[in-house]
Assembly symmetry: C2
Homo-oligomer: 255 residues x 2
């Protein structure tokens, strides 16, 4: 079963990039013999590497190669990066491209600010749509029913992020009307961000563009000054995404 095999890969994260056989089998809830056989296949194909000294397993360089295939296809290097970098140099803060994928938001590209205190997140981090400005601005532009089911999920798992259903729904409505969203110290105490949604050719939300930085530097007053450059970049990126179809799962969120 391929899905079982692929679920192994999800265990390898920036925080936890290296796994022992038994630990991994416990993490994914499969017997260690199964995990061992799967890992052996992954190793043979070059997708997972076993450190010969520690015997621990980690992701192999094949992922660097394949990610480049995706990024070339998306023309990230040619078209999107320059825009993010422009925003970065004009604002002096970190710029984050978030993409909607299967009920979650994922950071797909981060342009770090040159300053010593920067946005500490890294590419590949996923979280539910109800946490963080960059994610909420996406959620706000999804259909009402999808918002409701995602709020339900949030109330079950991490109700501290939501509060009451009514206030959260109103907040989303408010975000949608404004077309952008600023938060300070919501997810992480010292982090502030301003986010603006991105759309595809059919005007469906696809992700968001954010400027993030330390809360003491990126005040709301300061962030609002960034709106013109954000809106300009939003238009440019929307134009790109009206031609290039982004390979993320969001069919079920739209129809």
């Amino acid at each position: 079963m391929v899905i079982k095999a692929l679920s192994l890969l999800d265990a390898f994260t920036v925080e936890n990039p290296s796994w022992g056989l038994r630990d991994l089998s416990r993490e994914v809830g499969l017997s260690h013999t199964v995990v061992h056989r799967l890992l052996k296949s992954f190793v043979e194909s070059g997708y997972i590497f076993q450190n010969p000294e520690t015997k621990k397993y980690e992701l192999g360089i094949k992922f660097i190669e394949l990610s480049n295939v995706v990024e070339e296809k998306l023309q990230i290097y040619d078209w999107i990066n320059p825009i993010l970098e422009k925003v970065g140099s004009e604002t002096g803060e970190s710029v984050v491209l978030t993409i909607l994928d299967n009920n979650e938001g994922a950071f797909v590209k981060i342009v770090e600010s040159g300053k010593s205190i920067k946005f500490g997140e890294s590419v590949g981090r996923r979280s539910p749509l109800y946490v963080g400005a960059s994610h909420k601005v996406i959620l706000a532009h999804l259909p009402q029913e999808v918002q409701d089911t995602i709020i339900d999920q949030g109330l079950e798992k991490q109700s501290e992020y939501i509060g009451s259903r009514e206030s959260f729904s109103e907040k989303l409505q408010h975000i949608k009307n404004k077309g952008w969203f600023y938060t300070a110290g919501e997810t992480y105490n010292d982090v502030a961000a301003i986010s603006i949604p991105l759309f595809d050719r059919k005007e469906y939300v696809l992700g968001s563009l954010s400027v993030a930085g330390p809360a003491f530097r990126l005040t709301e007053e300061h962030a609002i000054k960034m709106l013109p450059i954000l809106k300009e970049s939003q238009r440019e990126i929307n134009k790109i995404f009206s031609k290039v179809i982004f390979p993320s799962r969001r069919d079920h969120l739209i129809n």
Copy 2:
């Protein structure tokens, strides 16, 4: 069989990033029903994306996420990139980091030159060790038996790259003695490159560092002037790779 499933992914390259079901099944030599089921699992897990309009399959954004896990673990961003960028700015040409993986060399990082005519290759491209300067300089530092088997493979498949076994072996010996290698117009007519090998803590070859550019600009005379900066960077990268173990398959080439 997971290996069969993973062999699908190898079909997705920069040149060929998008596949129809039937085309792909012919490419990998599996019945289309099998490929269909495998693709369905990949899609479900987010590793492959099906373009809803063309129905064609392509790699999903999960690969961008996982490649970031690898690169963070390797501290590519913190330590290796700055070195490559320094070489790039000092030489004004493209800089390429090639890694030895399973009888092949793979481009893992490329820093493009600012000039309009640049090195046209992209990350993820793999080729046998007997083609190109960056690969030959690796081959030259592998054990004699490994060299012989790889030369055998080359003579069978693409003897035009080798010529006679004796002259090729001598060339490799020569490269090893010099510790670097320059070529112009060998693999591609207009491309020249100078390469220097990289080693891990046990002094085994791990990859190579190259400066590449158009042959008319990157003459041998010009390339030799880059040797000091290349050797300095070689030392720095070796130092990094003596601490961080690179996740590439080369055990069988060394013992």
